[in-house]
């Protein structure tokens, strides 16, 4: 056997290569800013035109976080789905592709957290409520939320890549069962024994820790699934 003509790059170089491929269309980074600007303007115009849109306290309530959650879920889904086969064909391993994409998602999460807090500082609105100020907790909450959203998209797309439609049907079937079971459990005697998890009983720090743990579990699950997915 001959030696390798091209020597292996470092882990950071390999992951950065995937980030580069992910954003080969820079428009994917610009588009949310365009949409957020449009939403901001539309919200402002509607508030100005219609008194009904202005809250009682007179504050403009524009929160791009909700839009970003949906946008990031979709783009993460599209990134994993569309670039998986291309990346593998271009000599990239599944692990490098998956973790390189997650690095991209993490960087985007940090960027959009900064954008959201900047907007919140101007509008005074954060998740539809009054903004409490730029702080580490709010910053971390946004990053955890955005990474968690993208990790959910990555892991569900990994299910599709590995098992196709049967995998998705099983996954969503199971999810539907859980969603049906939870309210039933909540009103049952057993449910009354469980600790209540809601915003009133959890501190922001606890929410961040739980959110991070969920995101980490989703990331690991996604990796375990995608590392044996075939290329269709």
């Amino acid at each position: 056997m001959t030696t390798l003509p091209i020597q292996q790059r470092t882990l950071v170089q390999r992951l950065w290569k995937v980030v580069g491929i992910n954003v080969v269309r820079p428009w994917v980074l610009v588009l949310p800013l365009v949409i957020m600007t449009a939403l901001f303007l539309v919200t402002g115009i509607l508030s100005w035109l219609t008194i009904a849109f202005v809250p009682a306290d007179g504050q403009l309530r524009f929160s791009p976080e909700f839009f970003l959650i949906i946008f990031l879920f979709l783009t993460a889904n599209q990134t994993i789905y569309h670039e998986y086969a291309v990346s593998l064909s271009f000599g990239i391993s599944r692990s490098d592709f998956y973790f390189g994409s997650l690095l991209n998602f993490a960087l985007q999460s940090i960027w959009y957290a900064v954008v959201c807090l900047s907007i919140a500082a101007v509008t005074g609105s954060f998740f539809g409520s009054e903004f409490s100020g730029v702080g580490v907790t709010n910053f971390v909450s946004l990053i955890v939320l955005f990474i968690g959203t993208q990790a959910l998209a990555a892991s569900t797309t990994a299910i599709y890549l590995r098992w196709g439609k049967p995998g998705m049907l099983t996954f969503f079937g199971g999810l539907a069962l859980v969603l049906v079971a939870l309210p039933v459990l909540a009103v049952s005697d057993l449910g009354s024994e469980l600790p209540t998890l809601n915003s009133e009983t959890l501190t922001m720090l606890e929410t961040n820790v739980i959110g991070s743990a969920v995101a980490l579990i989703l990331i690991i699950l996604g990796y375990l699934i995608i590392r044996k997915a075939s290329v269709r």
């Binding site: 001959t2 390798l4 599209q78």
Partner: protein, 296 residues
Amino acid sequence: MTKVIEVNNLTKSYRGATAVDSVSLAIEENGIYGLLGRNGAGKTTLMKLVAGHELASTGEISVYGASPVENSAVLANMAFIRESLRYSENYKIGHVLKAAKIAFANWDDAFAQSLVDKFQIPRKRLVRKLSRGQLSAVGVVVGLAARAPITILDEPYIGMDAVARKHFYDILLADYIKHPRTIVLSTHLIDEVADLLEHVFVIDQGRIILDANTEDLRGSAAVIEGSTESVDDAVAGFVILESQTIGTQKRVVAQGLKAEDAARLQSAGLAVKPATLQQLIISQTNMDSSEKVEVA
């Protein structure tokens, strides 16, 4: 010559259906290899296994002495371009080339741009809106300009018209001479690629039924044509790979003829010419696929 790919007793099954069945082969560094076979013979599955895109059911694959599965060091030396490769929804050719430039260490951007012009790929149109032939050309451009030490091309040129395919074969050969590397081409258009290939593997029903140097293969059989009676008399004692009778005329593909045999048959009024690669392979694939044919 050193081996860069070694496959030993490789099998891939899908829910009882065996796509690749106990395949063993070796590919040496710097050569153009053909993986030939009919549609559904197992070519794509075998290539996917070698590229680490599929996981083997049993058997071993070694690329540069290691398994290619999840091996970044090995995969960095490999490009695997398939006809059915789908690019990101909103990619234009420029995005594909930019991604390839990031991915491949030996990427030649000037060469890629010249190929885009040569194959007349529209630069402003989305890749998903390209015609099948143009999409094939995108794969060809990436496969050639990547200059990956191991380049696996799974019929990416199949959607191209005959003229474009001829361009591709010419460019491939010229570029290979300037930048030698290991190229594995799969195709069922055997005659078109016959002059390119140094070695062929023929796969049928998941099994390698022919593993031969192209030159050895070309000299191994001849086509003999003439009246049925005289052909029957002449070919007695030779291995007949294929036989076809039309009216009073008969045409056979016979293996094992020496130069003096050919001269004797020609003097008896029979037409004798070397069998083409396609004739040989069609003959072989018509044989019992459990028999692997060895060509000296």
